[in-house]
């Protein structure tokens, strides 16, 4: 190890300045794209992708590079990766009620299924994950449990963000007690509630050098 590496390692340990790739994962309609857009708007004045109420709007990986998040003296440069929603069943019939015709709905179902595969493949390229859950919904789903188990097995740092806390019926406390071993940050990506808490957690968690 050269003097420069030693010095930069020492500086990193003090200020935690790093460049990392962070993915936003979760079930469809948890608000992944809304969160990605919120982070990109707050720190880069730009958006990552389009969000909509129709499930599986994001069917391909979307990426925004070099977003710098600052927390006091520490800062973190992230390449933000917005991923398609992970689901165990994608049925084109579900899209018909949103006004899509049959052909469009079938195409969407196929693309969304490909998106699930792509999203999971992308885990190999990431340094950390924000696992986004909908705090108005039951957290004990196959999707949440499977992603969480895999992140643990990979030893990939992650933060659980309990989204939609501004909605009626939201129970972030349930989510927190469901995953007591993990850091859960209650947020509203749409209205920007508690985003400062999320940024603080991101810099702290993802700024650390991985073993």
């Amino acid at each position: 190890m050269g003097i420069f590496d030693k010095l930069s390692g020492w500086l990193l340990s003090i200020f935690g300045k790093r460049h990392v790739a962070i993915g936003i994962y979760g079930p469809p309609n948890a608000g992944k794209t809304t969160l990605a857009n919120r982070i990109a708007m707050d720190w880069a004045g730009d958006v990552v992708g389009e969000s909509s109420e129709v499930p599986h709007e994001t069917r391909k990986i979307q990426k925004k590079d070099r977003i710098v998040i600052k927390q006091g003296k520490a800062s973190l440069t992230i390449d933000l990766v917005d991923t398609p929603g992970i689901a165990t069943k994608i049925d084109y019939h579900d899209f018909l009620e949103y006004g899509l015709d049959e052909e469009e709905a079938k195409k969407r179902a196929k693309e969304a299924t490909e998106g699930v595969i792509e999203a999971i493949k992308w885990l190999d390229n990431l340094d950390g994950v924000i696992l986004l859950m909908d705090s108005t919904k039951n957290p004990f789903t196959q999707v949440n449990i499977t992603i969480l188990g895999n992140l643990e097995a990979r030893e990939l740092p992650f933060i659980i963000a309990a989204n939609k806390i501004d909605l009626n019926g939201s129970t972030p406390a349930t989510l927190k007690s469901a995953f007591p071993k993990h850091e859960v940050v209650p947020i509203s990506a749409l209205n920007g509630v508690n985003m400062d808490l999320l940024y603080e957690a991101m810099v702290r968690k993802f700024g650390k050098k991985r073993k």
């Binding site: 992970i86 165990t88 049925d91 179902a109 299924t113 885990l123």
Partner: protein, 130 residues
């Protein structure tokens, strides 16, 4: 149990004819059965076999090689078509499945397609990625 030649219907107890062909008519397809089949049933089975596994025939080696090449290209085209599909298993109806071997072999992804819905077995996608 006897073997019945599907072409002429003759019954043989000795299974060597299954390999050698029917001494009466030269038929190569036999049905292993206690109860001999009627002509209509035999014809139906024979047609099905011919459709599925038509033997490669030709007057000379060149023709046979051409036919092999044609069938190989056809099989590759079929496999290419399957590659475009996202599912590894399609359920056409209960009991009839189409297996996308490429997807299963390359990625191990178990995605079942039935009645317009994709069922994704998540552990198969996460497999081996620890």
């Amino acid at each position: 149990m006897p073997h019945q030649c599907l072409k002429c219907g003759k019954i043989y107890e000795d299974s060597r004819y299954v390999l050698e062909g029917c001494p009466e008519c030269g038929g190569k397809a036999f049905y292993y059965t206690k109860k001999p089949l009627g002509e209509r049933e035999r014809k139906k089975l024979l047609e099905k076999i011919e459709k599925e596994e038509a033997p490669i025939q030709g007057d000379n080696m060149e023709e046979i090689l051409q036919e092999i090449k044609r069938r190989k290209e056809e099989a590759i085209r079929e496999a290419e078509k399957l590659k475009e599909k996202v599912e590894s298993i399609s359920v056409r109806e209960v009991g009839e499945y189409e297996i996308n071997v490429g997807r299963l072999a390359e990625e191990g992804a178990i995605i079942i397609y039935k009645d317009g819905a994709y069922f994704i077995y998540l552990p198969s996608l996460f497999q081996g990625k620890k």
